[in-house]
């Protein structure tokens, strides 16, 4: 597939020359520092997320959209789109997801709902790559149904006493601090939660590794985060008392559009790599790429990738200009997750036996992308949201 023209067309009007330059430099950086090490990290079973984050921070590429007064770059979400797309193009979502959780899931809540103490203690060091952030929302009894968290924050003078267990935390094994969603003992419903920042070394915090998973094998996923009477000062609360769930849900909406950008970039890269492979690989004397059926399969998916990408950019634009993003966010999260999985499935197949090797990038992408439809709002939750918005 000769898609250079399509890539130019897809980006026309959306990015500034400065952002194009950022993309070039980020790509170069990731190609030099991450791509060559992927195999070794996979064998070892972990990625050096802290080094990766410090490397990005040193070049001013973390928190590009946050205020300079908070340690950010004073830019816009479009720069985060560039980062998300460069991460996707790596086809290595242990890194992609790890950076995203840190930079686009927890950091935004600190920047937008954190008080001065939380900003100084967590956000500023995080944007310098020194404080690694994890996101602890899910529990054994609360996944899709976020509001059902049982972890309880009991108010006491000057703060909260936190008790409970969180499940599934990306980078949880190495994180320095966690954003924890907990319920208040007395309250029920949407206004009965708090979001608290918990340092990993606070007394009463214990992290346990997760069982092996299909994908995201080197993301340092914690299976359990045990919180046993952990004291959290008021200054480490994000958003108001009782507004934890609201703060959390508000953060999810724009983040899903950025995650969609990362997913679409994965799909884009998979299609390019597969087309290249089919041009090289010959059967019955002819490159497989010259056969109509596989070419049509890739072209069909290419059309979807380009269309969904336009929806993502439309959503980012609406977010940046202050419009409502709830509908577009749910739509693009749903479409990008399902589409990227379909792309990964097809590309895996078109790689033949080679694709079955678990060390092959297409194999890893197939495993990693399966999570897209489950995490940060499953497909079914996106459908629920869309249906609700429809009345």
């Amino acid at each position: 597939m000769r898609t250079a023209a399509l890539t130019v067309a897809a980006r026309t009007g959306w990015f500034t020359p400065a952002e194009d330059e950022l993309r070039a430099r980020l790509t170069e950086h990731l190609e030099a520092t991450v791509a060559p090490a992927v195999d070794a990290w996979e064998r070892r079973g972990t990625i050096p997320l802290r080094e990766i984050l410090t490397g990005l921070a040193a070049r001013g590429w973390l928190g590009m959209r946050f205020g300079v007064d908070q340690g950010g770059g004073g830019g816009t979400a479009w720069e985060h789109v560039v980062l998300a797309e460069c991460l996707g193009a790596l086809l290595f979502d242990s890194v992609g997801m790890g950076v995203t959780v840190h930079n686009d899931m927890v950091a935004p809540m600190l920047a937008e709902a954190g008080g001065p103490e939380a900003v100084e203690r967590f956000l500023r060091p995080a944007l310098a790559g020194r404080c690694l952030l994890g996101h602890a929302v899910s529990e054994p009894g609360a996944g899709a149904d976020v509001a059902a968290v049982a972890t309880t924050a009991t108010p006491e003078p000057g703060g909260y006493r936190l008790t409970g267990a969180k499940r599934w935390i990306v980078a949880g094994l190495t994180a320095d601090a966690f954003a924890v969603l907990a319920r208040l003992p007395e309250a029920r419903g949407a206004f009965g939660h708090v979001l608290l920042m918990v340092p990993a070394d606070a007394p009463g915090v214990r992290v346990e590794p997760a069982d092996a998973t299909l994908g995201l094998r080197t993301a340092g996923v914690a299976g359990q985060l045990r919180l046993d009477g952990v004291f959290v000062p008021d200054g480490h609360r994000l958003g108001g008392h009782g507004l934890g769930l609201v703060t959390q849900l508000r953060q999810f909406e724009p983040e899903r559009i950025l995650s969609a950008c990362r997913a679409i970039a994965m799909a884009d890269t998979l299609l390019l790599r597969t087309a290249e492979r089919l041009r090289e690989r010959r059967t019955f004397g002819v490159p497989i790429a010259d056969r109509q059926q596989p070419a049509a399969q890739l072209a069909r998916l290419r059309a979807e990738v380009e269309a969904v990408r336009q929806l993502a950019y439309t959503g980012i634009d609406r977010w940046v200009t202050g419009g409502a993003v709830n509908t577009v966010s749910a739509a693009v999260k749903l479409r990008s997750s399902r589409l990227t999985r379909a792309v990964a499935r097809t590309c895996l197949h078109l790689h033949g036996a080679e694709g079955q090797l678990s060390t092959h990038p297409v194999n890893r992408a197939f495993r990693d992308t399966r999570l897209l439809s489950i995490s940060t709002g499953s497909d079914e939750m996106m459908l629920t949201a869309l249906a609700r918005l429809r009345g």
């Binding site: 000769r2 250079a4 023209a5 026309t12 380009e306 269309a307 336009q310 459908l383 629920t384 009345g391």
Partner: protein
């Protein structure tokens, strides 16, 4: 029930990088006034289920309202403004009369008039007449023996009396042909009578030597015709031999983008109807829409519709900049056609027997969608085009 976000909401606010510029409220208001005025008359769905829908009357009315003229960029005119107005027109027409009148309007403005407008040898007066809505033309390329492969033309150029040229052959599935004053005929110039050999594009008045019969197709009721050309006199050579197909290749980028704009909105309109209907219908004592399967089906389609709308917007931006690759236009056209077909099929299903009734919005859309996956370039050809970039 909330309708799908109106396309105008995609329009710009300060600092926006969205393709769509500031909403052209004045033009949109005039379009709305037009569709409101003619909703129960010229634009009524029933009128477009007959073998003789009021195509000429509609074009005349749209022309007299100045809507065609104002959606047209002259050489050097503001191309972007005109394109977005044309898009607004096609979107509005996708939402009236089950979308059927919009098909005739799109053929008129974006196929025939557009081609005449870009070709230098078009006789004076034809384009102004088309923009006034007093005359229309049709592009006759497809033949019973082949549409995808237009190099295999059987229609040929001949010599007429008094040194003029003629064409002889058969065309079919020609949109608006039954209502056309002129045909733009693609014909093989085997003897180089136009100056060079190969496919030529010729302007043929609907008169002696031209016989048009309305086709009875699955969709596009009364809108397509078969054309028998028997030494029909040629009024002008629009593209000499060998250039006819090249002209059409360039033209199809434009046509496919506009088709995608219309199909995206048609899908949105059918989906809105389906959502409203599922809210009204009651089964097992509760509204149909309370069932999760139904809600999820509609929600999934809603996401698809948002996607093809966004794609169409970017395609318009690229078209306005003169930078739309053929592969991009093909991707947009194919995807919009696929989503329209899917929406129509599911919407019909969720309306049950009522949806199966002739003239139901989903039923009409399902029939039209089958034709839209062929017209303007088939799905298979679009996929090949995407592959080429």
């Amino acid at each position: 029930m909330t309708p799908v976000t109106p396309a105008s909401v995609l329009a710009t606010t300060v600092g926006s990088r969205c393709p769509e510029g500031a909403a052209d409220v004045e033009f949109a208001t005039r379009v709305d006034a037009f569709t409101d005025r003619h909703r129960d008359g010229l634009l009524a769905a029933d009128a477009w289920e007959s073998a003789g829908p009021p195509v000429r009357e509609l074009l005349r009315a749209v022309g007299e309202a100045g809507l065609l003229r104002d959606a047209w960029a002259d050489r050097g005119g503001d191309r972007a403004t005109a394109l977005w107005r044309a898009a607004a027109l096609h979107r509005a027409f996708a939402r009236v009369g089950n979308g059927a009148p919009g098909a005739a309007l799109l053929t008129h403005l974006e196929v025939a008039t557009r081609l005449l407008g870009v070709l230098p040898t078009t006789p004076a007066g034809l384009v102004p007449g088309a923009l006034a809505g007093s005359s229309t033309s049709a592009l006759a390329a497809t033949e019973p023996d082949g549409g995808s492969d237009l190099t295999a033309l059987r229609t040929t150029v001949g010599a007429g009396s008094a040194g003029g040229l003629t064409v002889t052959g058969t065309k079919w599935f020609i949109s608006n042909a039954p209502y056309a004053d002129h045909l733009l005929v693609l014909a093989d110039d085997r003897d180089g009578r136009t100056g060079r050999r190969g496919p030529a594009l010729l302007l043929v008045p609907a008169g002696p030597g031209v016989e048009v019969t309305t086709l009875d197709g699955l969709g596009h009721t009364g809108l397509t015709g078969a054309v028998a050309l028997d030494a029909a006199p040629v009024a002008a050579v629009l593209a000499v031999g060998g250039h006819g197909l090249l002209v059409l290749m360039r033209h199809w980028i434009h046509e496919r983008v506009m088709l995608a704009v219309r199909m995206a909105e048609l899908a949105a309109s059918v989906l809105d109807h389906a959502v409203a209907d599922a809210g009204r219908r009651t089964t097992f004592g509760v509204p149909l829409i309370t069932n999760q399967h139904v809600r999820f089906t509609l929600a999934r389609l809603d996401a698809d519709v948002q996607e093809v709308r966004a794609m169409a917007g970017q395609s318009l931006r690229l078209l306005a900049a003169g930078a739309c690759p053929g592969g991009w236009a093909a991707a947009g056209k194919h995807r919009a056609a696929a989503v329209l077909a899917e929406v129509a099929d599911e919407a019909l299903q969720l309306s049950g027997g009522d949806g199966y009734r002739r003239g139901h919005p989903a039923e009409r859309a399902l029939r039209d969608a089958t034709g839209l996956a062929l017209a303007g370039g088939t799905t298979e050809l679009m996929l090949q085009q995407i592959d080429r970039g």
